[in-house]
């Protein structure tokens, strides 16, 4: 099991990360990659950039915890999660989740699980830089609902 969790200001290269996960292996049959990209508009209004604030230490710990949970739930052969912080312009990547497994079901489920938890539990906050000032993006109920899909397995502590 190869896992990578990184928080960084710099851009990342999804292809290089995928290659690092599969390199030299012939047991991986399915690779799912999710890339979250900064859009040029929020609520119909053009934006200049997003600034991502995060809670150092907690962000990494929270992501690592969910990566561990994913690897205990599904038969994964590799997981990579990279989340950027700082200023990000439209068209730039924000977040990357890659999951590798022998079959597609586990790879898809784990990638969705990780994204749902990144959206609702990882301590990051997006601020929008628009022509008329800066505003904080509001959390969406739909994201909480998506995260709630992943019922806590019996015997584990329920999500707080």
């Amino acid at each position: 099991m190869k896992t990578t969790v990184r928080l960084q200001r710099e851009a990342f290269d999804p292809a290089a990360e995928a290659a690092a996960l599969t390199q030299g292996r012939t047991d991986i049959g399915a690779l799912v990659s999710f890339t979250g990209i900064c859009r040029g508009a929020e609520s119909g209004e053009p934006i200049a950039a997003l600034t991502l604030e995060h809670y150092p230490g907690m962000a990494e710990a929270e992501i690592s915890r969910h990566v561990e949970e994913a690897t205990s739930r599904w038969p994964l052969m590799g997981v990579t999660v990279i989340h950027r912080h700082g200023r990000i312009e439209p068209g730039e990547n924000i977040v990357l989740v890659i999951t590798a497994s022998s079959h597609r079901e586990a790879a898809f489920a784990a990638a969705e699980f990780l994204m749902d938890f990144l959206k609702t539990r990882a301590p990051f906050w997006k601020q929008v830089e628009a022509p008329n000032g800066t505003t904080w993006i509001e959390a969406k109920g739909a994201d909480d609902a998506a995260a709630a899909r992943w019922q806590t397995p019996p015997g584990q502590k329920a999500a707080e």
Binding site: E53, M58, T120, A122, I137, D143
Partner: protein, 86 residues
């Protein structure tokens, strides 16, 4: 009670006007909710930051906690809005 480090993020940080501070709450402050109530009375900027306690999330020593969680033994308590990463 001993000194407690409080850290703020996003619009909670902006409203309070600082990213972190050290406080010594009275012994009557036992839970996260108590602490929010106590901080909210420290001035207008705090009242504004904590005016809707349901919109405030908290972490003790970098783990999510609920309003009813005891702050006994905490070294660092964080307050922030619902997360919007990913």
């Amino acid at each position: 009670m001993s000194t407690l480090k409080i850290v703020y993020f996003a619009w909670v940080r902006e409203r309070v006007g600082k990213a972190e501070e050290e406080v010594v709450p009275p012994d009557s402050v036992k839970t996260v909710a108590d602490l929010i109530g106590w901080l909210g009375e420290r001035g207008e900027e705090y009242a504004h930051a904590f005016e809707h306690p349901k919109s405030i999330r908290a972490a003790i020593d970098k783990s999510h906690v609920q309003p009813g969680t005891s702050i006994a033994g905490a070294r660092e308590i964080a307050f922030f809005p619902p997360m919007t990463g990913g």
